[in-house]
Symmetry: D3
Subunit: 156 residues, 6 copies
């Protein structure tokens, strides 16, 4: 609710400032719907958490990753989320975002088994420490979905 006001406020300022009306508005709204579909409440939290440090970045996250990339056809959301869980597990340096996407993977219909399998598979490509840290992240998210939401305050 407060977030709604905030979003209208920053996006309104943006619209007014750039005098854009058509396309970007569409991109933003398309991105916003997609972000909610993938991340749920978590999506709103990350936007909120950027409010006082980089409000423009909140808008860019809605527009590019969600409005441009996730909205593309050619790959279903389940496969997209498993691919992100794989990549973030392998990179091993973005724990909050890994948790967000483990949560997101379940949100779009992946089973816990599928998530565990794709993380285990990363032991081959990025080593056992990366896979272990991915499994412990999954354990926390599966045990407490609210944990994922709290982490959404520092991820996306």
């Amino acid at each position: 609710m407060i977030l709604d006001v905030y979003l209208r406020e920053i996006y309104g300022a943006f619209i007014t400032n750039r005098k854009g009306t058509g396309m970007d508005n569409e991109r933003y709204l398309r991105g916003w719907e997609k972000l909610k579909e993938v991340d749920g409440q978590a999506g709103e939290n990350v936007i909120e958490s950027l409010r006082d440090i980089a409000p423009d970045f909140a808008r860019l996250i809605v527009e590019f990753p969600f409005g441009d990339i996730y909205s593309r056809p050619g790959l279903d959301l389940k496969t997209r989320e498993l691919a992100v869980v794989a990549a973030l597990t392998a990179m091993g340096n973005a724990a909050p975002q890994l948790k967000v996407h483990i949560h997101g993977a379940r949100n779009v219909g992946c089973s816990e088994q599928e998530i565990v399998e794709v993380i285990m598979q990363m032991s081959v490509y990025a080593g056992f420490p990366a896979a272990l840290n991915g499994l412990f992240a999954a354990k926390e998210v599966f045990a407490d979905p609210n944990d994922a939401q709290r982490h959404l305050a520092s991820g996306g």
Copy 2:
């Protein structure tokens, strides 16, 4: 053919040496079948290329990644290969193996569009240079499948 002799030779030596009979033989054969299913000729090339530097590592690649991980149920091969393409694109430091798995992804039924989509998606998680280098790798593999096979001499 020559490879067959070589494989019998190193695996035979291994079997004799450890006096194992049942299980590991099964793991190795299961892994070997899976490796051929995913990587085709490329799989045989990587084994061959390790012959004079680390023959035991050739055996371990057959046994662990293919015999243990890829043979697990719970995730189909298409999803596994797209996840690896995503991870190796994001890591950005294993170009030969990325090409092998772009080739492998097609081998197990992924369309070129699906591969391009998952690489493009990595721009969000690992940046545009990683995604660009992934796309150029895909371009080379799509243009010349034999290129992938040549690279298999230095990948897996």
Copy 3:
């Protein structure tokens, strides 16, 4: 020239497809001008090189990195380019793009000394191998600016 036709073609298809008229057109054109300002001919080459593998990604590169990020006020182009040279040197896994941005840094007014200094500084944060590989990239670009342009076929 041929590129112009190509760009009109892909962007035209995009515009027609999405029926956008105002904002995104602006973003794209703003990005295109910025890309030429930073990368010159190199910018056009990277777009061209994506033509047959991922034409949409060519458009996204114009729109997000250049139309959204580089067009922002608050940081001059010289500082932005030195920051990218620093980051890509430190990451050490995107050699073609590092060369492009060493070229871009000179394009927007950085001296060779400034570029060498920022790369040397990375020895502190990412180690001597990363700094050495950065210096050798700079050496090649300084010696042959056309080298940078050739690399632009595989970078951005």
Copy 4:
């Protein structure tokens, strides 16, 4: 004790399921002995911590890293552990496992000085932040060996 029951349970299920008798049993037992030699109580903790999220991965850790790799001749355990401390310090993205292996290095006979030296050396190859974070990890493990054991619940 409870762990013993658990291990018999998962390994028993595995044996029954695959009908393996000889070789793999040997690998598992060989790995288990090696894991205890290197990591002590910590080894048992990491197995236990995977119980409810990925019990098969617990088995794979015993079998591949410890049963296959650490059991190989050709390199003594002290050199192996210093090499791992070097690698994990340089990678900088696996803090819990770095602590486990600092603990493991001492376990197999490395002096604190040797561990500190190899971490300091990483400043040359991976930068000062990586070396500093390695040194602070060592400081914590040296000050409180139980700290390492607690971390073993999220490492290996």
Copy 5:
């Protein structure tokens, strides 16, 4: 004060031990002044925190990064600090040191806007998770400069 005693003590021991008189003393003092100029109290904290684990490394940090690199002409301190913030954001595996340098950037005259801009820019080169984690680090340092100082106990 206590630190002064400590520094005299370790440096004195070093001087005595190596019988150096001229040059290195100059390097050390030049580095020490530069470290205080960039990091303020934080610089002293990191030296102090290494006291019991690796006192020689404390000296090397003063001498090489600060005495050798930061003291070089050719790049002003503001640009150097923004380059480090960019690099550490992109690497994503050295959170304590990133905070120290966000603090350092402000110390040498960078505005909060400049710091936020360079971090946002890293979304292009290292992905959105890296940029997000950088922004959250900045948020914490801006909100509580003492937070940065506390982190200096584990950074540099």
Copy 6:
């Protein structure tokens, strides 16, 4: 020979410029001896290759990695070189320097088997692609030691 002239020239300019006489001269000479002990002709090549791009960095490489770090007691050169081979294999983004240190490891007395073992071990900590690329680097260096020397023109 030409290199000798060059070295005297840059180091002479440095000495004159800073009016240092004692300590640093010692560090530089100590580093130079150590660099030759570890890398042989390769060490001279890397210095030479920096001549026209960053001569000061050539001096810093002699002074810090070799004069300060490698000259420390507490760890023998064989262990140091195996630790570097492990770290560079695991990082996977510094191929020329990995080759230099595989060559260096042999130079200080490591057997080919020890080098192969430590690289294979990295499959556990950094994944199979990293280990494979390390093994192929070793294969090239073992097959043609001059190959290592050529790579020393772009490494250290």
